[in-house]
Amino acid sequence: MKTASAPRASETDRPTDGARPPHRLPFWVNQRLGLLVLIVALAAVFGLLRPAFFDERLVLFPLLRDIATLTVVALAQMVVLSVGHMNLAVGRMAAFGALFAGFGYDRLGLSLPMGLVLCLLAGCAIGALTGWIIARAGVSSFVVTLAMDFALLGLVSLLYSALTENAAFTTRPDGLTELRSASLADICLGPVCGSPAVPQIAQFTLLAVIGLGFLYTRTRMGRELLLTGANPNAAELSGIPTGRRIILAHALSGLLAALAGFMAAVGTGTFRASIGEDFMLPSFLGAVLGGTLLTGGVVSVVGALLGTALVGVIRKGLDLLGVGLESLNIYLGCVLLLALSADRVRTVVSYRKVVRST
């Protein structure tokens, strides 16, 4: 489900118009396949060293719940990367959305789904506002989202302090506790039940992956988003309303960040201001590892899932091996560095292929 604005990186994948590309790289160069192999190999190594790695309830369930949440965070970043922007406020937007959900449950007595809808609307609105400021003022997304991050940091803290006693909404609507702990083992089709390792909360991630995959591979709007990212001037001259596409990308990013905030709140139990504090690094890490270019125009939805899964598996494996705090972060830092280097190498390879083919 990797999509590129033609022709820049279309050599590595099927182009969006369905025609076969003139130069296909061999299948083993496919980055997502590489990631998948790496994840499976690492899981096997960790499993051999510590058989407890395959403990469904104590290891795999929390691991998959984390991956589910952080994949949505990575997708929130990926959407703005697709238009060549970035969202430094991804974590605060998650906190902002979660604040509305918590407020809805605590003060308005909303049901679980209605609170989620309110959360998504709030995230979408703040994202759209950010996109509008960027499109309207022409200021770099880096500056605007950084400013938005500070503004939301203050606003969210202020609202929690004003509205709650313990800086958190602790009211839990019916179904929240079940959503947190339920796995596919609780869902049965006749006599066959699912695996206890797969959390039900992953349904949101699945929907987000399917939705974004559809947007980028099947719709004109998705392709316009990618073209806006690949070359805004060319897109504008081609008749694409780039301003509106930028607002759309940021609105979607806000919506996905809010969804991640909701999932994180469900995961720990309450809606609080510190939700999303650590989202920024994983958002870039997951997206970039998965093959999304920082410069825009190329995204990979499945790649974001795989990139996030790789980081999750490494962290969980190191935890199981009892690696200390310092070494843990060194290993994670190395992964980030390698990811960014690989991104650069891929860009160069893509560029050379284009030059050779023209």
């Binding site: 313990n166 079940e178 719709t219 935890d319 705090l325």
Partner: protein
Amino acid sequence: MTQHRSVLTAAATFLVLVAASACTVKNSGDTGPAGNAPAKRGGGTAELADGSGVKIALVPGGAHPYFQPWKRAGADAKKRLGLGDVTFDETAEWDQQKQNDLLSTLAARGYNAFGIFGVSPTDINTTFADLKSQGFAVASLASCPAGGKNAADFCLSTDVELAAYKAARATIDAMGGQGRLVHLTGNNVDANTQRRIKGVKKAVQETGGKVTLLQTITDIDKDLQTAQKAVSDLIASKGPQIQGIVSTSYNPAVAAAEAVRESGSKAKVVAIDDDAKILSSVKNGSVSATVVQNPVGQADIGAWVLALLQSKQCTMKQPGVTIDSGSFVVTKKNVADYDDARKAKTAQLKKKFADEYLSCG
């Protein structure tokens, strides 16, 4: 072609959704084997008989100087009590989700009793309930869950509101009972910070207006640099108006002691904890007093009681009980021997556990 594919994808998505809604959902009301069982009354002893099957994990919210004594106290307890293992893991990085993951990983590694400082006081009861439902003994150490309810077996912690109250009282005494006071503290959106603010406000209110709270500065405990900047700004803008500074967090306390000494301000500073820097400031007089807590007692007693609970030798008479591990005002006068008072408190707490809180046999 593209339209045909779109229709196919839409149909597939629809089918997935229909299948999801057609599935039956099991009732997940079961709470597991180890709920809050009523405590038994027994005449047994609280001397641990066999702790070899107990593996204890002491898990702080993240790296912080406060928790370093836990490492030593845990290792000592392992040796003294003959426990299967005691580990100290500070990789939660102040993130509740990471701490939850870490706890489940430790459980998978075979640890079966947990002494936890929860990152988020409003969320930690969910984590405790999860661990309890899997049959593990759980202690909330150094911080209790917010909201007055505790899902762990017990909570052994500094009463932060009381400690902040004591610190504010000590500052007011040092100020001569009148003047303007500033409160420096940590993360505003943390339930413990809210408790500290309440404690300081209570002490100020008791003066009947003689002492006023000029400002409460929050969110400056991230690191020493942030605290230093905030304190130097405060001294520069309002220095002459301030007669007292009470800090209920570590970094602002160190920064306030330095700033007052360097600026020659007459403000009296009361700090928290017994870090070497703060103790030397108490000795040289730049800090009037410090309120120290009892981390060694928390880890020591925590490990012992967890071993008794997990080996099924004892049960809590009142599951979820909250116990103050003590806080002590240290001034120039008692800076040399305050640790004796702390050890005495620990011994007293052990006796109280054996006599009042535990039911053994």
